[in-house]
């Protein structure tokens, strides 16, 4: 586990620099608390932070699942139906010109302060990378595979389910990895705009009351959640999706941005 060791070293160095800045600049703890203070706040408030983290995690997971299902359905539909391509594709592409974050206040206005607008926000953020990556995969099936299937007398439906979809699984994995990175952003933005629970809410609250150490503690937990989600999605791609592609099993060997 060389990468694990490297990650630990980097983390230690960053914490050391952080502590050094606090010592050298002598920043007051309500501007930049040191790592020790943040850690002790984290442990003192474990229950409080855990409660809010649970809310955020459920928003992220539900949003990611729904967004993935919707994205997959859209991609298959687009790849199958010429009508869908003609009418839906331009709408989809144009919709990406709207910054999804700008919709957050509207969603809160319409759907209230509960989980729903945060989940929808996450769905909106996750949906496009999944749909576009999978659609790309579905439309770039190697010509030879299609020729072979056609010469064997396969129906269009079977070519889709037995050739095009399995051949596009590596593209879906790429989309999923992106989505896992974006999903927490959606939930947090949703919580910032209006919420009564969740890590985003807790961070705003702590900030407003100059409890910067609590804000940092919540931020650390959020970072841990994001990293854990990425690791889980990577594991899923390697273990489950790799049945369709040998490339995915080797993915972990090379560092990637997302």
């Amino acid at each position: 586990m060389n990468r694990m060791r490297a990650a630990m070293i980097v983390t230690a160095v960053i914490i050391a620099i952080w502590q050094a800045i606090v010592w050298i600049a002598g920043t007051p703890h309500f501007i930049l608390p040191g790592p020790v203070r943040v850690a002790s706040t984290l442990f003192d408030n474990l229950d409080l932070i855990g409660e809010h983290a649970l809310v955020t995690v459920s928003e992220i997971v539900i949003g990611l699942l729904l967004g993935t299902i919707l994205g997959i359905a859209t991609a298959v539909n687009l790849a199958t139906s010429k009508t869908a391509r003609t009418f839906l594709l331009p709408v989809l592409v144009f919709s990406q010109a709207i910054p999804v974050f700008a919709l957050a206040p509207v969603l809160t206005l319409w759907m209230g302060y509960g989980l729903a607008p945060k989940i929808l926000m996450t769905v909106l953020i996750v949906y496009f990378p999944i749909a576009s990556a999978f659609y790309d995969g579905l439309t770039s099936t190697p010509r030879g595979y299609l020729d072979l299937a056609q010469s064997m007398g396969a129906s269009k439906t079977r070519i889709m389910t037995r050739v095009r979809i399995p051949a596009a699984i590596p593209s879906l994995a790429t989309g999923l990895r992106l989505a896992a990175v974006y999903a927490p952003i959606g939930a947090i933005i949703g919580e910032w705009v209006g919420a009564s629970q969740g890590l985003g809410y807790l961070m705003l609250l702590a900030n407003g009351r100059a409890k910067i150490d609590l804000m940092f503690a919540a931020l650390v937990v959020l970072a841990v959640i994001t990293v854990a989600l990425r690791a889980l999605v990577n594991l899923f791609c390697r273990r489950v999706l790799s049945r369709w592609s040998s490339d995915l099993a080797r993915v972990d060997e090379t560092p990637r941005m997302v």
Binding site: P142, R158, R162, V163, R243, S245
Partner: protein, 249 residues
């Protein structure tokens, strides 16, 4: 049938292709008349881009990226595309399926009943009986092409179209595959598109060279295929082919 494994091939037809082909307004080849004999190996040679693969794709009823004007007829008057199996230079194995599932892929794609036992026999015949559950990525290039050969046999079609299937293999594997294919495909009508005069002179019953001027029939060796590498008539035939392929200097 050699090895008595595959079902009985009834009436492998002779095929005639008469016509010309345009791709993007450019004439790929002028009007040609290709006669493919029943139950024999017809080899089609020619330089890259001469349109050999296009002919093969037209016969298989596949998209050719241009327009073919002419007629393709089978000697028994029945339609051709659904009686054709094809094999290309790329093995086209699905990486997500095992060797056995790849060989059975035709039945899966049609929703037919799987004939697992027959598939096992064919895989054993191509020498991969021990690798039946492996994924293609674990196989060498030669082994992968053997799986493709078994898959082609599994289709049990009377007409087999081969698009340079052995050209990416090393000399030994290539020779072995030629012999294996010759045995397995006995009694079927075969069109082999190839770059390799050695291969053509070794295996062909009938020989054609395609160029921008059209189709040239070349005398095949007078010994029966499959010929040994020392066969003098095959060597002479190689020389004839090389001369034609080289063109006038």
């Amino acid at each position: 049938m050699g090895h008595g494994a595959a079902g009985i091939v009834t009436d492998a037809p002779a095929i005639t292709l008469h016509g010309e082909c345009d791709i993007g307004g450019r004439k790929l080849f002028p009007s040609i008349n290709l006669e493919i004999k029943a139950e024999a190996w017809t080899c089609l040679l020619g330089s890259s881009g001469a349109g050999k693969s296009t002919i093969l794709r037209a016969l298989a009823g596949l998209e050719i990226g241009g327009s073919f004007t002419g007629i393709i007829t089978a000697s028994d008057g029945l339609p051709l595309p659904e009686r054709v199996a094809f094999m290309a230079q790329d093995d086209l194995l699905f990486p997500w399926l095992s060797v056995l599932d790849n060989v059975c892929v035709g039945a899966r794609l049609r929703g037919d009943k799987l004939e697992i036992e027959h598939a096992r026999q064919l895989i054993a015949q191509v020498g991969l009986g021990d690798q039946i559950t492996q994924k293609p990525e674990t196989l060498s290039g030669g082994e992968r092409q053997r799986v493709a050969l078994a898959r082609t046999m599994m289709e049990d079609r009377p007409v087999i179209l081969l698009d340079e299937p052995f050209s990416a293999l090393d000399a030994r594997n290539r020779a072995e595959m030629q012999e294996l294919a010759f045995d397995l495909f006995k009694g079927r009508t075969i069109l082999l598109v190839t770059h390799d005069p050695v291969e053509a002179a070794r295996i062909a019953d009938t020989l054609f060279v395609l160029s921008e001027n059209g189709l040239t029939a070349v005398d095949a060796p007078d010994t029966p295929p499959i010929r040994s590498f020392e066969d003098p008539s095959a060597l002479q035939c190689q020389a004839r082919l090389l001369t034609i392929l080289r063109g006038t200097p």
